[in-house]
Symmetry: C2
Subunit: 634 residues, 2 copies
């Protein structure tokens, strides 16, 4: 088998590189190469050697102590507790036998690490376990805990999966032909069911596999020969956790895919949260779910998380690197390097080319880039949005006006993205006394999604990181935010007479706890309804936005009429998508000018208009492909 040959060649190289270090064995683990050494001490002072080796072999390398030299977990835990000062506030320690790692969760990770890593070195020398330090999230996230526990419970199976993935990645190449093409399986000339297949003679990579939110019966074209059988796919890459990009990932496992899913760690956690909610809502509404929770778990079992900027082999001739997309927590631009310098193509996923309250603007600096597949949600020639600053000022003004007349502000919002964006604006406004100190109630999944945000501060922008790490201010845990997690608490909020801000799901008033708030608050003209997101045609949100003053309302099977006397305001500019100007500027700002740009994820007219504008502005070849088409890149 080709893999075995590759491994023995690698072993030779490593021995040549590290002649003085006793290497017990090496093996593939997903995309990584794990080197087991007898005595990890020898390598500890020489982090640079590992880096050089990784660069030379073009592989990600993980060094572990030979399992035989590890102390039993109980004993090791005692040693760690002695070595680490109490001020570090360790909240949990767990041993990942699969990886030979001990994960130490602490409120002050810096103290666990010690000066120049002194404490870490002590831990590995004394216990034989490689320590990994993670910050104890300031808000407990049930999702993260469940995921962590699930993955630990299946670690044996995962070890097998990762070994197989590693072998498949390193199977070697066979074809003399060199070509690269993309088949568009969904999300082209439409928003929803994003799904693309990147193909070379050697490999098939699927990028995203989403639901069509406005028509749940429409899946991507997964029955066409390019992707059947599904297990002919080498790897699935998820750009971000919104359901139009990952909502149907579990269906792949239901129908026979057995390979890996590459995504960032926050995307993994948010994805599981949203997928579970997706089937939950479908069941509650009496519908048929396209998959069950077991398929979500099966998918989770196959996830391989990657940080931004880490180059990873995912197929014999394909390397993947994620870059910040600025859209939601963990959202990534997926960059593929094909062959040895043969071709480079990036998929933007959804992206924001403007620094927001939460994220830095989308990355434009790629070592090389021949083709770009980009979103075109606001690609139309008139799709200009107000700046963030204008949007924030308008929101603050509306809140002040409502509060001063004793009313409540209701903000329907999608759980992930805009909710947190608005929260940060409100926290600052309260802290800087731009608005009075009113409670901000969070209802629906918003609280849980926010908890996940607090677990990954390194995915937030520099300003927020500075605030959290250096100034000790975590805006997400401000005392102004009040979680609503029961019907009685909700009633309390509604019946309380004092002014407040309420952020509740869903974002388009088509279900979720926001409905109850709306029903209660709508008749009173003191209150205000603020739309911060897009309202799709056919939703209640859209009708109210259009000015309907009496809306039919489902209530215990009967239809009531709700009279809308409250003020209705739309605040544009909070979108997580780049507007027309930002889309064009993004292409202009790319460090490496692509030869081809393909526009997707937008209505037909917007994809075509953006393609045409980019062609006219930059003389780059563009196309707005259709679903089921295949475009040749090379």
């Amino acid at each position: 088998m080709a893999t075995r040959k590759v491994l023995s060649e690698l072993k030779e190289k490593i021995r040549g590189f590290l002649p003085n270090i006793k290497i017990k064995s090496i093996e593939f683990e997903g995309p990584n190469l794990v080197v087991y050494v007898e005595d990890p001490k020898q390598l500890l002072g020489s982090g640079d050697i590992i880096k050089k080796l990784a660069k030379d072999l073009r592989k990600r390398i993980i060094v572990r102590a030979d399992p035989k030299s590890r102390k039993p977990p109980g004993e090791a835990e005692e040693i760690i507790k002695q070595v680490v000062p109490e001020e570090a506030k360790i909240t949990s320690i767990f041993f990942d036998e699969e990886n030979g790692e001990v994960i130490i969760e602490a409120e002050k990770p810096g103290i666990v690490i010690g000066k120049r890593g002194k404490t870490l070195r002590e831990i590995i020398i004394e216990t034989g376990w490689s320590p990994r330090v993670v910050r104890t999230p300031p808000i407990r996230s049930k999702t993260i805990e469940d995921i962590r526990n699930f993955l630990l419970s299946v670690r044996e199976e995962r070890k097998e999966i990762l070994k197989k993935v590693g072998e498949r990645i390193h199977r070697g190449t066979i074809y003399k032909d060199k070509w690269v093409r993309i088949t568009f399986l969904g999300g082209s000339r439409e928003v929803g069911r994003s799904c693309y297949l990147l193909q070379t003679p050697e490999s098939k990579i699927m990028i995203d596999c989403g639901v069509n939110v406005s028509n749940l019966n429409q899946t991507p074209y997964l029955y066409v020969p390019e992707v059947t059988p599904l297990d002919s796919i080498d790897a699935v890459v998820v750009t971000h956790a919104h359901l139009d990009h990952c909502g149907l990932i579990p269906i792949l496992y239901k129908y026979g895919y057995k390979g890996p899913i590459y995504l960032t760690q926050p995307t993994r956690d948010l994805m599981v949260l949203l997928q579970l909610d997706f089937i939950d809502v479908a069941v509650k509404e009496g519908g048929v779910t396209p998959y069950e929770s077991q398929h979500i778990r099966e998918a989770l079992k196959h996830t391989i998380t990657l940080d931004y900027g880490v180059v990873t082999d995912i197929a014999p001739d394909v390397r993947l690197t994620f870059y910040n997309a600025g859209h939601i927590l963990g959202s990534a631009i997926a960059h593929f390097h094909i062959g040895e310098g043969l071709y480079n193509v990036a998929f933007t996923g959804d992206f924001k080319f403007e620094r927001t309250r939460l994220f830095d603007k989308a990355e434009t600096n790629f070592p090389r880039l021949e083709a770009l597949v980009m979103e075109a949600t606001y690609g139309g020639s008139e799709d200009f949005q107000p700046s963030r600053k204008e949007a924030e000022e308008k929101l603050i003004e509306v809140i002040n006006k409502t509060v001063s007349r004793g009313g409540k502000v209701l903000i329907p919002a999608f759980a992930v993205g805009r909710s947190q964006e608005v929260m940060i604006v409100l926290e600052e406004a309260i802290r800087e006394k731009k608005i009075p100190e009113v409670p901000v109630y969070l209802d629906g999944m918003i609280y849980e999604a926010t908890a996940i945000h607090t677990a990954y501060p390194e995915y937030l922008n520099a300003h927020l990181r500075d605030l959290i790490f250096h100034q000790g201010v975590n805006p997400f845990i401000s005392e102004s935010f009040v979680r609503v997690d029961s019907a009685s608490k909700r009633d309390e909020v509604i019946n309380d007479k004092s002014p407040a801000v309420i952020i509740a799901t869903s974002g388009m008033l088509n279900g979720g706890p926001v409905m109850e708030y709306f029903k209660a608050l709508a008749p009173d003209e003191k209150n205000t309804l603020v739309f911060v997101g897009y309202q799709a045609e056919g939703t209640l949100g859209r009708r109210i936005q259009k000015g309907w003053k009496e809306v039919p309302f489902p209530s215990n099977g009967k239809r009531e009429v709700v009279y809308v006397n409250m003020e209705v305001v739309t605040v544009d500019g909070f979108s997580g998508h780049s507007d027309r100007r930002q889309l064009i500027n993004y292409v202009k700002s790319l460090s490496s000018k692509p030869e081809k740009v393909l526009t997707v994820h937008g209505d037909e007219g917007k994809c075509i208009e953006l393609a045409s504008a980019i062609y006219k502005t930059f003389r780059i070849e563009t196309r707005a492909p259709m679903n089921l088409e295949t475009v040749r890149l090379l």
Copy 2:
């Protein structure tokens, strides 16, 4: 099984339609529906009923006597010989048990048929066999005889094959989705290895599968998932017999395809001739053949021949109709009707939109046409060719000049197409005394290819048919034509001192008997070399055309130099391809204006230029797709 249900429903319908006729059984045979009746007499006088039934059921219907009511072949043959008058000159009678047909080959088919079919009726009534009358070809074709004998020898197996094909065609449809797309697997932005895949949710149809004549290592992209496994393909359609369109058909059977090939009867015969020659030449040149003669036979076993204008079910949702393409004998434009009125797309294959000596101009009259895939060999903006008339005048002038100085005219030509075209010109010129009565020698496969032409007069143009059928003049069998079929005969022709015309293969002086003539005739300035076809870059023909006066020449392993003193003339205008003006006029003349035109079978620049010209002239959406791309039509 869906097929069974379809059959029993059809049986009910037929019984309702023909209440007085005893139907024994019905079954599918390839695309046809065979109705076995106890007593064929009952249906004989009512041909119209069958036509109406066929129209009503939208099926091709064949009526046969129940096998039990057929006389044994020996006995039946005696009866036929008694019934048919001797003047009919029957040359052979054979019984096709598979079809319940007796094929009567006669020099005067009209006499076998009898007044208003009287004799035929007698035959069926007396023997129980359905008679089919074919004309005895005026020149014996070994190819045709071999094919006929082979097919008879495998008739049992063929019966099984046709039954399976019939069941697969009538399997019923499953998908709700409606879409149509084409994947370009070869012959796009290039000339050679033509291969296209027409796909719907239900069906896959491959159109052509050719060799790349200038690079035999390059096959169409048959390893991509759209066509693997090869047996996922429902049907293969061959537009014409040139190797760049059908040279790799046998490879499909080598690698697992088991389905039918649809083509015209002349295409079938010429295809087998050229494929056998193709592997023969490859073996002689010491090369590796991509397939063996057994795969040619396997392909032949799966052929289903269709005449122009016959609408045929070839998949649950696809109907195929061939139309005259005017390019070579049997060449067809393949028109596909998809769904019930859903979509129509035609592939021109190679086509000539000008009436030639042999063929009517390509068909433009289609009931409906939404998309056209057309060739672009001469699609460049400067690709204008002289008219046929000018070309013929120039050829005659050159011959006269050479003959009058006592020289020989050597015309390198490809066996199928241009050779016969030139033959007809010369025959007429001699008959009308425009050139002296010199012998016209035919060497290489030209004679055999010509024999096949004489077997299918109904595929020639109206003028030739009139000449052959009504004026008793068959230009192909003129006494001026002399076959050269041995080395000694060739030496004789070369050493003879008197003027002559020699037409010999190959057409580009890259092998074949033409080489010997050239070597012998080149040094003498009395002789003339006339190019009537395109000379590809890199061929000896091209070098001589460019004016080389000394050419290296392979001879018994050594390299000799041949001095070119003979006159060298290029006569443009004999091409079987439409020139730029004809291509544009073709689109203009279509009875049904397509929404989309895709250009293929031409150098990159020519495909793009033609696409752009058609867009500018007619405002039709056009594209010049690349190999490996998929274009969505609907």
